[in-house]
Amino acid sequence: MGKNHPNVDPYVVSRVRALESLLLEKGILAPDAVDRVIRQYENDTGPLIGAKVVARAWCDPGYKRRLLENATDALADFGLNYDLLVVVENTPTVHNMVVCTLCSCYPWPVLGLPPTWYKQPAYRSRAVLEPRQLLREFGLEIAAERAIHVWDSSAELRYMVLPQRPAGIDDLSEEEL
């Protein structure tokens, strides 16, 4: 049984219909609420904002400094009002990883909804215990001289990693990135 595809389970489907109809009837759920969610997330452009932020940080050292010191302020440059983000920087000596061992906390406003694997037991259990091996299984070998720093999002602050600026992109503009 695949955890990703329970839509065939008639109990789940009918229970959701039941709850939906009860809450519509009681005036708790608006009739257009589901359509609004579909529109909101169907074109989930969350990750684009994060990508733009990273591109600007790679091109502009002043922006990068602002982003690391006060992400709220730096995000406002992109019209985003979000005061719970902390950006952590990958360096030659440190590789960062983010997890929520207790549930699924994720910086939705800059990265969109989290992928299923982020919310499942394998990642949540192993990221704090054996991150280097986990990354190796993802195909990423972290050099021995780099430490790994894992951020477990146990409160309402959300974390985003600023990857290291790749080599050979000096002549790319922010938009191209």
Binding site: R17, L24, V34, Y41, P121, R124, V128, L129, H149, S154
Partner: protein, 226 residues
């Protein structure tokens, strides 16, 4: 609570399995669950801490065997029943109704929906951060040890980080305290810190060294360490 959700450090779940080009939602019912979650949050009916604790109290085997949005369905139903917004009986009856009539429209189960959804007016208040004149107990660089405790209710101090030596990296500010807020015991805001732990202090004979873990922890989770 020492629930099945508190997964940090557990073993045996195997590799992380990733789906290529994963859609945002795998079925329409998932979007309905998200809409329901938003409505109960926006309406002030269920706060985020109550919502999480509702999920934490799922039957453990069911939690591990079910999908992410099934967790939301189970948790929200539990809390709505506890708050007498719906009854378990009417949810079960309505579920049977739709199971027997999978093609029935939603309105087949009731007459006229209420015209306006009830919702609380939005306050201008930040959802989690609060002002406080109380002096924080800790400062960056302070050495702390986390409490060893077995709370029956909601907490955001995972088991793997209890009774462990760490160092304060940063004071985030003062935030609503989930351990009370999840149980109708008030916001009880406290200073919230970023605390860093070395792998060997968390795990002892750690499988990997040269690793640190940072958690965001409320002041009452922490004790002074000389």
């Amino acid at each position: 609570m020492n629930g099945v959700h508190d997964l940090g450090g557990m073993q045996g779940f195997g590799p992380v399995v990733r789906e290529e080009q994963e859609p945002v939602f795998h079925a329409r019912w998932e979007t309905v669950v998200v809409a329901i979650q938003q409505a109960t949050r926006a309406g002030g009916m269920i706060n985020i801490d109550e919502f999480r604790h509702g999920i934490e109290r799922m039957e453990p085997a069911h939690y591990l065997a079910s999908s992410y949005y099934e967790h939301w369905l189970d948790g929200i139903s539990r809390v709505l029943i506890e708050k007498s917004v719906i009854s378990a009986a009417e949810l079960d009856q309505r579920t049977s109704f739709f199971k027997e009539r999978p093609d029935a429209p939603l309105s087949a189960a009731f007459t006229q929906p209420a015209s306006e959804p009830r919702s609380r007016p939005r306050s201008g208040q930040h959802p989690y951060q609060r002002e406080s004149t109380a002096l924080p107990q800790f400062a960056p660089g302070d050495r702390v040890i986390t409490r060893e405790m077995q709370p029956a209710g909601h907490t955001r101090l995972p088991r793997y980080a209890r009774g462990k030596r760490g160092t304060i990296d940063r004071l985030h500010g003062v935030y609503v305290f989930p351990d009370t807020h999840a149980h109708g015991l008030g916001e009880q805001p406290q200073p919230l810190y970023s605390v860093r732990f070395e792998a060997q202090d968390l795990w002892g004979e750690a499988p990997e060294t040269d690793q640190t873990v940072s958690l965001d922890l409320w002041e009452s989770y922490l004790r002074v360490r000389e």
